[in-house]
């Protein structure tokens, strides 16, 4: 380890935040860019499954809440791209990586939203899992990322409550609505557990990332925490978690749960999820069709600046 590296690690160990202009190992920078941009991409792609129900939300209030939520996701994407930009990569570069299929985003968004209950389930489960992942990252070592996480977590927990509220209304509603809620739980439960990533045993890069404090907890730890938090919530709703192996283990003080189907996980990651192609195409289409608008805005700004300069001269 070079003296610089040692000093760097000491700062991290002392919980001092690393800021953009400071020295950092290239691998730290690269890992962070990958992690932050994946998170940003997930926010952007995540707008689609929920956006799918904005025009069909069942009341004006639900419509406003959902629209505001999807809007927040655009905002989160923006914070995160900004955080990544402090590491020397532009938003356009990152978007190109997303559009070309090189960059990853959270696989959960490759599942379709089939009913209104899916909007509830996403808020409750998907945002719930996301928060579980993100709360510790508020303490991560990179200053801009840590600060972005603080803002994001505040909004996410709001979203999660809204999602749970949708589920509650359905679970307390007509038999059809209750069935809709159960069905959504059935479909979103396992993909939500997969959001924490592969089992620690199979997880690469984890040790280094934890040392750098850009990963705080292990995947399995967080997954367990999520299950422990969510199962009682499901019970309160009167819904059944779709896992026959799920039971309280008094000895461990945790719920035991069944094995995740990692074959499905890897298939979805590999591009074979129900909506991978659709999500990416929608994104590329928006980006490409917006190009002339972005160019026009730049051209106008340049003209305006030139005019202001001419006037000043």
């Amino acid at each position: 380890m070079s003296p610089e590296e040692r000093a760097f690690q000491e700062r991290i160990d002392a919980d001092i935040k690393i800021e953009p202009k400071e020295w950092m190992p290239e691998a730290y920078r690269k890992t962070l860019i990958r992690q932050i941009s994946q998170h940003a991409h997930s926010e952007i792609i995540g707008m689609q499954p929920e956006g799918n129900w904005i025009t069909r939300a069942p009341t004006l209030e639900r419509k406003a809440i959902l629209l505001a939520k999807v809007q927040d996701e655009a905002g989160h994407g923006l914070y995160l791209y900004c955080a990544a930009e402090t590491l020397g990569v532009s938003r356009d570069e990152l978007m190109e990586q997303l559009n070309s299929g090189k960059a990853k985003y959270s696989s959960i968004f490759n599942y379709p939203t089939l009913t209104w209950a899916d909007i509830g389930a996403i808020g409750w489960l998907v945002d719930g899992a996301a928060i579980m992942n993100q709360v510790p990252l508020q303490r991560c070592s990179y200053g801009p990322y840590s600060r972005a996480m603080i803002r994001i977590c505040k909004e996410e927990s709001f979203h999660q409550r809204q999602g749970y509220d949708i589920m509650m209304k359905l679970a307390r509603g007509t038999p059809e609505q209750k069935q809709m809620a159960q069905d959504a739980l059935n479909r979103w439960w396992w993909p939500s557990l997969m959001m924490f990533g592969p089992s620690d045993a199979d997880s690469v890069h984890s040790a280094q990332s934890m040392k750098w404090k850009i990963k705080i907890n292990s995947n399995d730890e967080l997954r367990q925490k999520f299950v422990d938090q969510t199962v009682p919530q499901a019970e309160y709703l009167g819904l059944t978690v779709p896992d026959p192996d799920l039971r309280w283990n008094a000895e461990r003080g945790h719920y035991d749960f069944g094995a995740v189907d990692w074959e499905e996980f890897y298939q979805v990651i590999a591009g074979n999820g129900p909506c991978n192609r659709q999500r990416l195409r929608t994104r590329v289409k928006a980006y490409e069709e917006g190009r002339w608008v972005r160019e026009a805005a730049e051209a106008y700004a340049a003209k305006k600046a030139a005019r202001a300069q001419a006037k000043a001269a």
Partner: protein
């Protein structure tokens, strides 16, 4: 039609404009040219949904038949909608959306300004609250007309096409009918025809600054205010109302 009935219809117009334009804008969410626009378009849509709730709830109260904003938004068919034809036009490209928005905002601002002087205090209050929001909408849509009109060759061409295309839907904004006249006489709302000059001044000045040619006054499409819409509205409602129609009496 007595004054109360006219007022109900009048409030539907206000609410339906906000509802349908908000719906159209919400279609952009996740598909706009830049994240900043996803945020901004959603903001405008959210303001309009909020205004919809205020106007339609008040309409329901005036009607006195137990219909609230949701019932009015989700359980009327197209012929009972009272929005202007302008706001139901498809999003088209970003220039079309912004031209539609600018034409509407410029009118909406003047209309709300007039309504702040309404003798019905609830109308005046809603108008005052909305006016602040719409001042920002107008600033933004005007800005995009300038940017696109005076941006690149392509953006100029698209923006010119958009303002030409939508022009025929602007005449309806200023035509007073029996309901408007009842409102004017009762001191409840402004005379639409009195708004036209200020509107034209702003639109003309903006077009000029944006290097755009404003279309000549011509035949105006009309009908929205009395429920004669274009063929687009029915499809909007099919999506908008699906859940309420498919699951009657459910609570969401």
């Amino acid at each position: 039609m007595n004054e109360q009935e006219a007022l109900f219809e009048y409030l539907l117009r206000l609410g339906d404009n906000a509802l349908i334009l908000g719906h159209r804008l919400s279609e952009w969410c996740g598909h706009s040219p830049a994240l900043e626009e996803d945020l901004a378009l959603s903001n405008v849509a959210l303001d309009l949904i909020g205004q919809t709730q205020l106007w339609l709830n008040l309409a329901g109260e005036i009607e006195g038949k137990g219909r609230d904003a949701d019932k009015l938004a989700y359980l009327r068919d197209a012929r009972d909608f009272r929005n202007l034809l302008l706001v139901e036009q498809p999003n088209g490209d970003f220039a079309m959306t912004m031209a539609r928005q600018f034409y509407f905002d410029a009118w909406h601002y003047l209309q709300l300004q007039g309504l702040t002087g309404s003798k019905e205090s609830r109308i005046a209050e809603i108008a005052a609250k909305s006016l602040k929001e719409v001042a920002y909408h107008l600033e933004r849509s005007r800005d995009w007309v300038l940017r696109l009109g005076d941006g690149t060759e392509e953006s100029h061409r698209r923006m010119q096409a958009a303002i030409d295309d939508l022009w025929m839907y602007t005449g309806e904004l200023f035509e007073a009918d029996e309901i408007d006249r009842t409102m004017i006489q009762a001191g409840l709302g402004p005379d639409p025809s009195a708004l036209q000059e200020s509107w034209l001044d702003l639109v003309r000045a903006t077009a000029e600054e944006a290097t755009l040619a404003l279309p000549q006054p011509g035949w105006a499409q009309r009908g929205g205010k009395r429920g004669i819409h274009t063929e687009h509205l029915g499809y909007i409602l099919a999506d908008l109302q699906f859940l309420q129609r498919a699951y009657p009496n459910a609570v969401w």
